[in-house]
Structures are given as structure tokens and as C-alpha cells.
């Protein structure tokens, strides 16, 4: 049976698609057959971040409407053949998704894949609702910033009351915190919420902290999930997150300010 993971946040621009693409790539690299689905109908971007925008022929809505088969719509990743991408439709409006349609496709994907990552759109409308409805696990992406924390809390409320697991009174959706765009320097000077603050307010287990990093923009510019940039802090942070999700015990990193050595200071190394 596949495990369905929703990557959600409520607020836009906090790093859902970045997280989805890296987690999906990370799980596939670990040897699990993984598919990542874009639920942002009308504003798809996962294809761009994954670097397969020119290979999109059919999409999620085509499959729901029976206009193409699932295999026609799935795009096999060129860097890792265990990873597939199911793009969202760019032309339809968001009402094209139906609970029955999404459920049917997830069921079909469950036969073939081990992990199904649902990249949620921002907001709490249709697309975001269907992305979280069938989930077993939820990665709640949050920035250390007031509006993001508030929206994340709202999303947690929706997960615990409106998901399929909540409706059927099954074991609740497992929720994890991914704190992104974290800047330990600004936390130290008291101008940014700390990881402890956010964790305390949301009372969620921390899966990992993604430091603010120039590598993220570089990665999306070139259509590469940042996890493949193994040199970068952000890439390593996502590798840690994948390992922790799979049950490995890895100490938290990127929470404390990095001490810059005398030599790096002198030569400007990072």
C-alpha cells in the first residue's frame, strides 16, 4: 500500500513546491517508487521546478475526465527513474477536480507507487482540500513569520477535522513541521521567531529546518530539485528531512548560527 503525503501550508510562497520536489526526489533516490502530483490547477509550477515543463502532454484533469490514461500523463524523471511527476492542468479552472476523480486516481497510483506526494496549492479551497483529503501524512511547511504560522495552524485544524481519516474516525493524519527560510542569525538577534517558538505554538514534531539559502533560487532557476545540490545547506537539510521521515535518527542542523572560521573570513569562503 502506498503512503500518501500532502505538502501543505495554507499560506503561499513558503516553499511547498520546493519541498515537494525535493522530498519526492529524495524518496526516489532512497529506492522507493515515488510520484509527485501538482494540485494547483490553473497555476501549475511543479513541472517548472522539476525541470520537465516541456514534456507535459496530458495532465491530472485529463486523466480524471478519461481523456488520457494515467501512464500517458505521468512524466518519468530523467535523473531518477523511480520518480514520476503528474502535472496539473494549466487551462482548466480549479473546480475541475472532484473527490471521486482524485480518489480514483490515487487508488490507481497506490498499486504502483510506494509514496504519493501531493503538492498542495495555497489557500483552503478545492485544490488544497483535495490535496489533503486522502493524506496519511502531512508535511506542514511554515516560515518563521506570523502570517505563515497562523495559516499553518488553520491548516492543522482542517486536517484534523475535514480529512478522510477524520471523517472515518481512523488514526489521525500524522503531521510534521518543516520550517523553511530560517535564518539563525536573525533569530539570535531576536528579530525572527525561533524554531522552538514555532514548534511550541503549533505543537508539531519537527521534521527539519531549511535555512534561507541562495541555493533554492539557483535550483529552481535551472529546474533541479535543491536536494540534488548536495553542497548546499538547503540540499543537505532536505536530505536530512527525507532520512528522518524514513525513521533515521539524524540530529537537527542549521538551527544555530554557523561559526565562521578565521580563514574562511579571510578568503570569503562559505
Amino acid at each position: 500500500m502506498a503512503r500518501i503525503i500532502v505538502v501543505t501550508s495554507g499560506k503561499g510562497g513558503v516553499g511547498k513546491t520546493t519541498t515537494s520536489s525535493s522530498i519526492a526526489m529524495g524518496l526516489a533516490q532512497k529506492g522507493f517508487k515515488t510520484v509527485v502530483i501538482d494540485f494547483d490547477v490553473g497555476l501549475r509550477n511543479l513541472d517548472l521546478v522539476m525541470g520537465c515543463e516541456r514534456r507535459v502532454v496530458y495532465d491530472f484533469i485529463n486523466v480524471i475526465n478519461g481523456e488520457s490514461t494515467l501512464n500517458q500523463a505521468l512524466i518519468r524523471d530523467k535523473r531518477c527513474n523511480l520518480l514520476s511527476i503528474l502535472p496539473a492542468s494549466q487551462t482548466r479552472d480549479k473546480d475541475a477536480l472532484t473527490k471521486e476523480g482524485v480518489g480514483k486516481i490515487l487508488k490507481e497510483l497506490s498499486k504502483e507507487f510506494k509514496y504519493i506526494i501531493c503538492d498542495s496549492p495555497a489557500g483552503i479551497e478545492q485544490g488544497a482540500f483535495f490535496a489533503m483529503y486522502f493524506a496519511d501524512d502531512a508535511l506542514v511547511v511554515c516560515n518563521p513569520e506570523v502570517s505563515s504560522v497562523r495559516d499553518a495552524d488553520r491548516m492543522l485544524g482542517i486536517l484534523s477535522s475535514k480529512s478522510l481519516r477524520a471523517e472515518k474516525v481512523r488514526e489521525p493524519v500524522k503531521e510534521y513541521l518543516v520550517l523553511s527560510r530560517y535564518s539563525p542569525e536573525r533569530v539570535e538577534t531576536g528579530e525572527m521567531l525561533s524554531v522552538d517558538d514555532v514548534q511550541e505554538i503549533l505543537s508539531l514534531p519537527l521534521l527539519g529546518v531549511i535555512p534561507e539559502s541562495s541555493a533554492i533560487l539557483n535550483a529552481s532557476n535551472s529546474g533541479t530539485p535543491v536536494i540534488l545540490d548536495e553542497e548546499s545547506n538547503a540540499g543537505q537539510a532536505y536530505s536530512d528531512i527525507v532520512a528522518r521521515y524514513l525513521g533515521e535518527d539524524r540530529p537537527q542542523r542549521f538551527i544555530k548560527k554557523q561559526k565562521i572560521g578565521f580563514l574562511s573570513k579571510l578568503f570569503g569562503g562559505r
Partner: protein
């Protein structure tokens, strides 16, 4: 920045953010869990009260408050003046208040 500014510096903004969020999140969680059944409860209570007293919707308020391990359901009924003066003993004039305490969270 002068030395004086250093001492005058106000509270770091992150701690303000934390306090604001703690209050807001607690409040929103409470109001979301309430919203589901409280309006209906109020309507049904009002219907019962109206059988015996001439009161309108505005004069009945139903509140659910939560602290650490207590839930307090508070019902406030304000009687119209002339009605209250006619039927009620002097000390109960004007207002009836009932509190139901329930220990332990749902």
C-alpha cells in the same frame, strides 16, 4: 547607533510575534471548535425559554469558555423590564444567569 539607543532599545520583535501568535492561535482554535454546535444550541435553548418567558434572540447569550482543564458553558438571559418587574421577586429582577461547569476536555 549611540550608546543611549542601545539601552533604549525596545523588546525584540520576535518575542512580540510569539506573544501575539500564542493568544491568536489559542483564540482561533477555541472559536473553530465552538462554531460547530453552539449556534444550534443557542436556538434550541431560546425556543425552550420562549415557552415560559417573553424574550427575544438578542436577550439570550450562550458562551463556551475554556481554560486549562475546564469548560464553562455560560447562559445569560436578560428579561425585558416590565415583564421582569411583574413576575419576578425584587432580587431576581432583570437578569437570569446559569453556569454549567464541565471538568476535563473533550
Amino acid at each position: 547607533m549611540s550608546l543611549l539607543d542601545y539601552f533604549k532599545r525596545s523588546k525584540p520583535s520576535a518575542s512580540i510575534a510569539r506573544e501575539r501568535l500564542q493568544i491568536l492561535v489559542a483564540h482561533e482554535r477555541a472559536s473553530i471548535t465552538q462554531a460547530a454546535y453552539l449556534p444550534q444550541l443557542k436556538q434550541e435553548l431560546l425556543a425552550v425559554i420562549q415557552k415560559y418567558f417573553n424574550v427575544n434572540e438578542e436577550s439570550v447569550s450562550v458562551n463556551l469558555e475554556q481554560d486549562d482543564n475546564n469548560e464553562i458553558l455560560e447562559l445569560n438571559v436578560v428579561f425585558p423590564d416590565e415583564e421582569a418587574n411583574k413576575n419576578q421577586p425584587e432580587e431576581r429582577k432583570g437578569k437570569y444567569n446559569a453556569r454549567v461547569n464541565r471538568t476535563g476536555r473533550r
